[in-house]
Amino acid sequence: MIPPGFEPYLILFFAAVLPTAFWRVAGVVVGRRISETSAVFEWVRFVATALLAGVVAKLLFDPTGALALVPWYGRFGGAAAALAGFFLGGRRQIVGVLAGEAVLLLSYFVR
């Protein structure tokens, strides 16, 4: 029997912790067999890079929560400002992040 109050943890474990850990474990198992200098390894790194850019696109095109209340040009303008700020601000990440936030907040208050 499941003790009362324990159910959320059980669901969390089976429906979120395990399905996510599965891919990390798979990465270790598969990765141990791939040589660092092989073409497969290079390819996997490009796949991960494209995937990451896709994650950012997903967050901008299909925002969740309070971010959905910001106009689309605020989100995309913010991301563009972050890139511009990063490269023009001497490749400092904080400059990019602050520039992006400034554009986002501007779009929220000035629309």
Binding site: P8, Y9, I11, L12, A16, V17, L18, P19, T20, A21, F22, W23, R24, V25, A26, G27, V28, V30, G31, I34, F41, E42, W43, V44, R45, F46, V47, A48, T49, A50, L51, L52, A53, G54, V55, V56, A57, K58, F61, P63, T64, G65, A66, L67, L69, G78, A79, A82, L83, F86, F87, R91, G96, V97, G100, E101, L104, L105, Y108, F109
Partner: protein, 244 residues
């Protein structure tokens, strides 16, 4: 154990180096994103400890959003598990490409699995960029310091978000939520090593909305990664052949 015995103070310094690098920007950025998990857990009546546990043990923002969203929508645990599983496929290529930096002779499988748990967008991108400068035998302690700082600060943030549910005005909430995509953006830009990398990034970004339309929100990122990544890889090969 293999190799010369590790100098304990050097290991400690490497851990603290990782913690400092994480706290300098990456950890607060991820933590700000995971602040939003608190209210989601609160909304479905999950206890505070379950919200914090989700950040500690799932350690994947989109998966956590899907999980609590699914509970809120009344989906079955099996359906939620499948959706979460599909959203977490990205960890496979990330772990594979991060692993060589952390591999040491004589390392046990549990140690590698433990290290792999800390893989997320932020630790992958920042780790790939920062770790080559760290001495190989100190990369594991460095990465563990970096990873633990990110996870623990984020777990704390999730707890704070839970307790403060509903108390932040929309622009503040939006600004906090925007920190992680902004940080991902500059982090990817900082890590891009050449033209082919830039192509992978551009394709990944531009293909996502198309993939979303064509194959839906579950498999879109997988398609984007495989298609954009393969195209960039082939371009990289072609360019190197011409240069050689």
């Amino acid at each position: 154990m293999h190799g010369p015995p590790l100098d304990r103070s050097a290991v400690f310094r490497a851990v603290m180096h990782g913690v400092r690098d994480a706290m300098s920007l990456p950890a607060p950025m991820v933590a700000a994103g995971l602040l939003s998990i608190g209210p989601l857990a609160h909304a479905v009546g999950y206890p505070l400890a379950a919200a914090v546990a989700s950040t500690l043990f799932v350690w994947a923002g989109p998966a956590q959003v899907l999980f609590f969203g699914g509970i809120a929508a009344g989906l079955s645990p099996v359906g939620i598990g499948l959706a979460v599983g599909l959203s977490s496929v990205r960890f496979l290529p990330m772990v594979i490409s991060l692993l060589p930096l952390l591999r040491r002779p004589g390392q046990s499988l549990p140690e590698l699995l433990w290290l792999s748990h800390f893989t997320t967008v932020t630790t992958w991108s920042e780790g790939l960029r920062r770790m080559p400068a760290v001495e190989p035998h100190l990369r594991v302690p460095y990465f563990l310091g970096f990873g633990h700082a990110c996870v623990l600060l984020s777990a704390f943030a999730t707890g704070v978000g839970y307790v403060m549910t509903g108390s932040s005005p929309p622009p503040v909430a939006a600004a906090l939520l925007f920190l992680s995509p902004l940080f991902f953006t500059v982090s990817v830009a900082a890590g891009a090593r050449g033209f082919a990398d830039a192509v992978a990034i551009a394709l990944g970004f531009l293909l996502q909305p198309i993939a979303l339309k064509l194959i839906g929100p579950e498999l879109d990122l997988l398609f984007v990664g495989l298609f954009g990544g393969t195209a960039a890889f082939l371009l990289d090969r072609a360019m190197r052949r011409r240069a050689a």
